[in-house]
Symmetry: C2
Subunit: 325 residues, 2 copies
């Protein structure tokens, strides 16, 4: 009997590093996790990571043919296989993560690294709703707004490896401060914290002290709370979704003008609000599209399993590398 | 003796259609022009165009090996070889220009059509300053703002064939009315008419009735006038360039965040102002770039001969088609 193929997907977060073994259909066969360390010693971390991978494979995947390792990480440079100056990890400067892993796994031809948004985009293309698409865009809405862009079947990395920073395009010049230090970027309006900021503005504008959202301090306000308030018919929450969709639709129309994609996928927590966010986003994109592109772009929600999307997407990177040869 | 290779480049404008024979180095060997008709009969026009091409080849290029025909036209759809609903041409609906030309030139394998901005971009890649680049962007600044985007050595056409409408990305939500009917697009600020609009705003703001620019009615104000005033040291003209560069730099930073290109090329009339426009554009892009992309993107002026760029760019489309196989 031939062994089944599978890939290892790793998602490096600020606190935890998740490890999964994923089959060719995107199904998670096994998973584990280690702490992402604070000690800043990349070599030591990679040794720990390699041990955890080997343990997982030994326990769960003796019968599998492992094709390679795909990694999603912040500030990842695909071209060089490096993590560069990450704000939320303890490793300083430039960490040659792919080279360090290759030392641990010399048998694997395919070890590749990209940022988490790109990993999710490749996951959508390999296992998800974009299977037959050659031109599509993904927006990941979470703590930040990330992006992945597929043109002619290939993810765009650009000259530096850092292409796809769609969250850091200008929405409102000299507008809200963005996490990157600049002002007015899409991320400052359409991320989960961006929605909380919009909530505060609308509460202030309407002086809506009776809204359920007026009972939650800013520091605790999550997109889930806005969804719950909307479900109770709170007009403030409905306005927040309306306004967020209006902002996001402008960004999506810009992306459509530049790329003319077949579809734009939305991924992440805020999409759990369904039509509350989707309807105003679609209406705003449609309103802002130039005539020649009207009705040419679908807005869709990612079909990846949200909880495991990061490791699933990272594992898809291996299949994409094999496809590229 | 082997015949030298050359291509035919055609630029379809609202008034004239320019025809050129261009060698493999981008040198114009011969050119002519016919009127772009107002009669709306595409078949008749293509017959006239074919005759003009045959005359030019017979007169000037008997010794050449003609590789094909490249056409730049407004509202061109590369994927289908069609011109679709052009506002500035008399042809209604969808004109299958490539098919009509193939009937006239059945021997030519390579007949291709794209919009003028894409043609200029391919010209830059084949003959100009982007010869060794795989990832670059072109902004054409003129009556409008157009764009061409090269990723991994290929021009992006997108799902519909209409990708690259960089001029119609949002700069200032609910801002100036744009030629496309929407509001706030980059084109409304950074085209030649956009600079005239900025001039009026600054004249009004400063009440600068003594400026040389205050002596020219809006309907006659050209970017050349602003340049001339700047050369005389007029502070209003200098402010117009400053402000235009600030606007354009925001757009270029957005494009850099999305694509991470090696360079962004600027093309067209306003670039004749040199450092007046380039310096504030560079400063603004630099200011608006996220940290990881700072100092990774060059801003350069197109190296194509401005007068003949449209036919040179169109002819380059033939060489690009041959390269693609």
């Amino acid at each position: 009997m031939m062994n089944m193929n599978a890939s290892i997907g790793i998602d490096i977060g600020g606190t935890n590093t998740a490890i999964g073994i994923i089959d060719e259909n995107g199904k998670v066969l096994a998973k584990s996790a280690i702490k992402t360390p604070k000690h800043g010693d990349a070599k030591k971390y990679v040794a720990e990571l390699a041990e955890a991978i080997k343990d997982l494979v030994a326990e769960e995947a003796k019968e599998l043919n492992i094709l390679g390792i795909g990694i999603g990480a912040p500030n990842a440079n695909y071209n060089l296989g490096t993590i560069e100056y990450p704000a939320n990890l303890s490793f300083e400067g430039i960490t040659p993560l792919v080279d360090l892993l290759k030392e641990q796994f010399p048998r694997f031809v395919h070890i590749a690294l990209t940022n988490d948004a790109n990993a999710a985009t490749i996951g959508e293309m390999i296992y998800g709703g974009a299977k037959d698409m050659k031109n599509f865009i993904m927006y990941t809405l979470g703590t930040g707004v990330g992006g992945g862009i597929v043109v002619n079947g290939d993810l765009i990395y650009g000259h530096t490896g850092f292409a796809g920073e769609n969250g850091h395009t200008m929405l409102i010049p000299e507008g809200r401060k963005c996490g990157c230090g600049q002002h007015g970027h899409l991320e400052a309006y359409c991320s989960a914290p961006g929605m909380a900021r919009t909530t505060l503005e609308i509460l202030a504008q309407e002086n809506a002290i009776d809204s359920p959202l007026a009972q939650i301090p800013f520091s605790k306000l999550e997109s889930k709370d806005i969804y719950n308030a909307a479900e109770q018919g709170d007009p403030i929450a409905l306005k927040v979704f309306e306004k967020t969709g209006e902002y996001l639709g402008i960004g999506l129309a810009d992306a459509a003008h530049i790329f003319s994609p077949e579809a734009i996928f939305l991924f992440g927590g805020p999409t759990a609000a369904g039509d509350y966010i989707l309807n105003p986003t679609k209406a705003s994109m449609d309103k802002h599209l130039i005539t020649v592109l009207k009705d040419t772009v679908e807005i869709r929600v990612s079909e990846l399993e949200q909880g495991d999307a990061a490791i699933i997407g990272a594992s898809a990177l291996v299949l994409q590398e094999i496809k590229k040869g």
